[in-house]
Amino acid sequence: MHNIEKSDERVRSLSRRGLITLAAASAGVLVAGCAQTPRDGGASSAAAPSDPNAASNKKKKNPYKDDIKIAYVAHDLSTPNNQAWLEGIQRECASWSNIDIQSFNGESSAETQTQIMADVINQGFDAVILQCSDGTALAPSVKEAEEKGIPVITLNLDAYTTHSALVMAVDYDAGRMAADKIAESINKKGDVAIIQGVPGLTRTDNLEQGFRDTIGKYPDIKIVDAQSASFEKAKAITVMNSFLQSYPDIKAVFAINDAMAEGAALAAESANKKGQIVIWGADGEKDALAMIESGDMSGTIYTNSWDEGSTAAKIALLMVGSEYSYTVLSETPKVIMEPIVVTAETVSSIAENDRW
């Protein structure tokens, strides 16, 4: 799964058309005419878990008239990403007073999320937008919801069971893009280090793998170290300080998320090395963009998280208003958000009201 080689353009084209292909795949019709993603072609013809011709028994509602309750189950509501998704979902539904959005905080715990899912199913929500803290642990809950006709749309962190849709930012490719950009700015030569998040999360593991695989193609660049800062800015300051101690000649640092890249930049500044070390992050949150503007950070891979949340909400409404059901799917269809490489030169192209 990791070694799919895609050009930037390919990823970009996928993201915009993803929604259309998704609708087609979910319905299990019209797929033959949709050639962008070969996998979708397989979805309709390949062995579906149940008889694809069976009539769906899912009840449909009018999402713009009937009373609709959508649950947003976050991994950890206090992160900027989770907040931006929630806002995106709310904005998408703001014009329709019949739609009620309720957010639930998973507190970074799969157990908590499982309990929330049980409540949400019992309370008869019409759709769930979920960011799985653990794709395996949440799979039974997701399956139960889908079986009861509640479509589940996952955000960034997948559930390992076939469900209505996964809306995700690029992960492996974001690592690849950052690696190429870093290589370019250090003239393809020198020592680099990685600041990791919490090990074991698909998204961040893929990001790191993409970075490592791509750096491997530059013979004169060496990854000298990789340390975890648990996604925290304050911890990243400490980790970066130790990198500066151990590797005085370090040329670049790639942090798996922006908060840690910001911490690394603060440490570099405190060591009077502002601007001398290439520092990249991933996500594209507001503060990181400001630090790229001020020259503290070198770049990031930006995803419009508001748009991502709003996309998930659109799919939820589409599923609620139709007989589309997971039973016709052989695997979860994906919508991939457009990744934008942000550097000091391009940061001004991210409009103020796209900064989450």
């Binding site: 950890d76 800015k233 304050a234 300080n241 130790s242 151990s246 405190s270």
Partner: protein, 338 residues
Amino acid sequence: MRNLNLSRLSKPIILVAFVVTLAILRPSSFLTISNFANVLWSVSVIGIMVCGTIFVFLLGGIDLSIGTLAGLSAVTVVEVIKNMGATNESVIIGVLAALGVGAAAGVVHGLIITKFDIPAFLVTFASQMVFLGLSMVITNNQIVSAREPVLFTAIGSMKVLGFPLPIYLMLLIAVGSWFVLSKTTFGRGIYAIGGNPVASEISGIQVKRSTVLCYVFSGVTAAIGGIVLAAMTQQGMASTGTGYETQVITAGVIGGVSLLGGVGTVSGCIYGAVLMGLINNALNLLSVPSTQSGLVQGLVIIVAVAFDALQHQDQSRRKARRILGRLGGDKANESPAA
């Protein structure tokens, strides 16, 4: 030899052993002033907080709210700065407001605990959630940036003689705490209350008033910790400081604080914080992968604490032997159970 008090030296011995080992393994990167500055910088927030929370520990109480209270203080200071246009005055008002929040939280804790006689564990566990909730409401769960003014960010990172400001703050607060605990009647009273609250009450110590004051100290140092964290990271959010309560309690216990009350010193707490920072620093400098660092960290803490405890045990054995020796008889040769 008999008079050599090893137990007093065991903590310095552990620190020196640690430093020597690391100096041999990583001579170029470890033994530098800037690395020591980094280690102290990384534990300064824990160090600041433990110097206030020790008062609560000595009572036999506990304050689980300090992590989210630090978060609430961080949020308070950055919100004030943001809403007053990032001026120097806003920093002063923001810092005072945050300190006020910390002190008020301490008063409330102390009053609830003394008036209603509810266990501190429950009160501070509940208020932990209240503070987190308040921070979430105030910030609408967003990150509030405070990259300006310099007066604010300097609190977290300005260097004086090569050492960042939070280190000096930690030392200042430690000296203050040490002074109150060992040189004032109030301080010695805290040890007495922790040892035996009923006897203290009878002997004329104002237990309730002292208890409230102890929680105020804990709250204020938590607030200072939160202000420093916010200044260091140039932002404040609801999750700032969460989890610090565990680290602060760990630092205290490593440093010899008894959670039952009555036992513990400020120097011990600072030792605990510094040892934790050194272990972390060692893991980083030795490039221990993150999958293994938790394991190594836990084992090193157990070994260090066991070594320390062993010295104390030896000392109490020797003391017991001496007493028995003075009493005379054959018992002097037996090794009494410690």
